[in-house]
């Protein structure tokens, strides 16, 4: 099933061959019947068997599959002379495997005509069907099959061959290099920033609004609602949101405003409690922290939204902050917040939801801006330094895209190679 498009094409072709051979059979049968009328000595069975065994597949090779977890051997061969040409009688290849060159050989796979390779692999689990162990000798042969199950021909036997798992995926070298460059860039800029390099960052309206919004809440004597979204602690957007929550909570504690953080995921709740608690301690007001500032509601999307809607309509928060992963509920929350007259600041990396936040909220952080927000709010040189590194990485990618396009239009061959470095499949 490596390539099912080919498979369907192949199966169509298979059908065609099947129909053709059927026709051939009928024709030969009828001619033999008419021949029989002329000459009784010729039997129909003979003339069916008159179809010769096909030419075998040749140049068989078997080797350990590259860049994998082991338990996998790739077999390659050259098509039988009767596959798509010659007698055109081959309909499939059967891959046979044995632990000894003398057999017995067992079938481990069947591929349609026209195929020149097969990967014989098994799961890691010892109890799975077809399991075979690494570092054991195996022998293979390939049988070219015809419509008649008894009529096939074997290739020569190859082996011994062993499978083994690799400790490095050589196909991922470009990724490794890119990640290393990124890491080094980050480290360099963090060091430079620590040494006092002046780092400019362009203004982000959504971030500047946060301070103002907390002040506004204090003046109005109304709470601030912070929604972490539906992500789990295993989403980077949620981790970014924790950082923003930390900054917001610290300011909230300083201004002595009320804060409400309803949660969707229990782990997120626990982490958020920790974040808010530390922020209150940092702000010098540990006594103001209560565990019910950050509370769990339910792990069901719309029940959660229903409850948050209720909070918005009943508590009328001065400011609603939505940061993290959001799905369909984005617009429900944002429209309810707008109806309640709250100032709304949103940020998410869920691309389909960005337009809704953008339309219904006062400020929206678009995609990457969410991840940059913590650096903006903290203004710590280390974080600003890593933002700079991020920009350099962006510049490198942008330059690669432009160079790649130039290459592919001027030197197509080299351009394709260049392009392939970026098209990694892990």
């Amino acid at each position: 099933m490596r390539n099912s498009f080919e498979k369907t094409r192949a199966s169509r072709a298979l059908l065609l061959v099947f129909v053709c051979s059927l026709l051939l059979l009928i024709v030969s049968f009828s001619t033999s019947v008419s021949a029989q009328a002329d000459n009784d000595s010729d039997t129909p069975a003979d003339s069916i068997l008159a179809l010769a065994a096909p030419a075998p597949a040749t140049d068989l090779k078997a080797f350990d599959t590259d860049n994998d977890h082991g338990h996998s051997i790739t077999i390659e061969w050259t098509l039988s002379a009767d596959d798509g040409a010659g007698a055109n009688s081959v309909i499939s290849y059967r891959i046979m495997k044995s632990e000894s060159p003398d057999g017995p050989f067992d079938s481990v796979g069947l591929v349609p005509l026209g195929a020149t390779s097969h990967v014989n692999s098994s799961a890691i689990d010892k109890n799975s069907e077809g399991y075979f162990s690494d570092n054991t000798d195996y022998y293979y042969r390939v049988e070219a099959m015809t419509t008649n199950a008894a009529l096939f021909s074997s290739s020569e036997i190859v082996g011994p061959v062993q499978s083994s798992g690799q400790w490095f995926n050589a196909g991922l070298v470009p990724v490794l290099i890119a990640i290393l460059i990124f890491t080094i860039l980050t480290m360099i800029f963090v060091q430079l920033a620590k040494k006092g390099m002046d780092l400019y960052v362009r203004p982000l309206a959504g971030i500047e609004a946060v301070d103002e919004a907390i002040g506004r809440a204090t003046e109005m004597g109304r709470p601030i609602l912070y929604v972490l979204g539906l992500g789990s602690a295993a989403d980077i957007a949620t981790i970014a949101s924790f950082t923003i929550l930390g900054r917001v909570a610290k300011k909230v504690a300083e201004y002595q405003t009320e804060l409400n953080v309803p949660c969707y995921d229990p782990i997120v709740m626990a982490v958020a409690q920790e974040v808010v608690k530390s922020a209150f301690i940092d702000a010098g007001r540990p006594e103001a922290y209560k565990d019910d500032i950050v509370h769990f509601i339910t792990n069901s999307q719309f029940a959660y939204v229903g409850a948050v809607n209720g909070i918005i309509m009943r508590d009328l928060p001065a400011t609603n902050v939505y940061m993290g992963k959001f799905f369909a509920e984005s617009l429900i929350l944002a429209e309810t917040g707008a109806a309640a007259g709250s100032i709304q600041i949103a940020g998410t990396d869920e691309i389909p939801q960005i337009p809704f936040f953008f339309v219904a909220c006062d400020y929206t952080l678009i995609g990457e801006e969410l991840f940059a927000a913590s650096a903006y709010l903290g203004r710590e040189p280390e974080l600003l330094g890593s933002l700079k590194a991020q920009d350099y990485a962006k510049a490198v990618l942008l330059a690669s895209a432009i160079i790649g396009i130039l290459l592919i239009n001027i030197f197509p061959d080299f351009g394709e190679t260049f392009k392939s470095w970026f098209e990694v499949i892990d």
Partner: protein, 214 residues
């Protein structure tokens, strides 16, 4: 029984819709009910799937118990130390494990799928040719050029550490145009699916409940 159930469902449906007029006791009751039932439902499913099937059957009653699962359980217990203020800081260890492991897990994966592959897709022949005649297909060529301009200017918009002025600023501005067009289009595209949701409920109220389907 069926009758009562459908009536309940219909009342709950109307209760939620009543929120559109204003917050009211019926909505509040629906909301409270919804929170309770859904939290319980999820807890039950989670119990049977994970606590029981995964952990109990895997690490306790299995013929070859998977002792590594016990490490998970110990980490879980550490997590519960939050409830005891004095040693609560220990609960940060499992948190650190989750955050660290997921950061590492996503880091390379996202880099490959979001950054490298997308750049790879952007690298293509600008001049599109008709497959049969080999003549230049102007429409498609224009399209690939617009895509290129959009990707470049969009990315330029996301630069944080360079002031948006001069040529750079102008490019970023073009980027925002592209963003606006995209946002508008996605919004417009979504209207239909939102209407289908309403149709679904109307179907229920008029068809199943009132039974006056066309």
């Amino acid at each position: 029984m069926e009758m009562i159930s459908i009536w309940i469902a219909a009342i709950l449906t109307l209760g939620i819709f009543s929120f559109l007029y204003k917050d009211n006791p019926l909505y509040k009751a629906c909301e409270a009910l919804f929170v309770g039932v859904s939290a319980a439902y999820w807890a039950i499913v989670f119990y049977f799937d994970n606590i029981y099937k995964k952990f109990y059957e895997g690490a306790v009653t299995a013929e070859e118990p998977d002792y590594f699962l016990w490490i998970g359980a110990i980490l879980g217990l550490l997590f519960l130390t939050r409830l005891v203020p004095k040693i609560g800081w220990v609960s940060r260890w499992p948190m650190a494990l989750i955050v660290g492991a997921t950061a590492g897990l996503w880091m390379v994966g996202y880099f490959v799928s979001n950054a490298m592959n997308q750049i790879g897709n952007t690298i293509s022949n600008i001049i599109a040719r008709d497959e049969l005649t080999g003549a230049i297909a102007w429409g498609e060529t224009f399209g690939t050029m617009v895509i290129l301009v959009g990707v470049v200017s969009g990315l330029v918009y996301f630069f944080f550490s360079k002031e948006h002025k001069g040529v750079f600023g102008a490019t970023a501005k073009v980027g925002t145009w592209f963003l606006m067009v995209t946002f508008g289009a996605s919004f417009g595209y979504t209207v239909m699916s939102r209407m289908s949701l309403l149709i679904g409920r109307v179907d229920f109220l008029l068809g199943d409940w009132l039974g006056i389907l066309r």
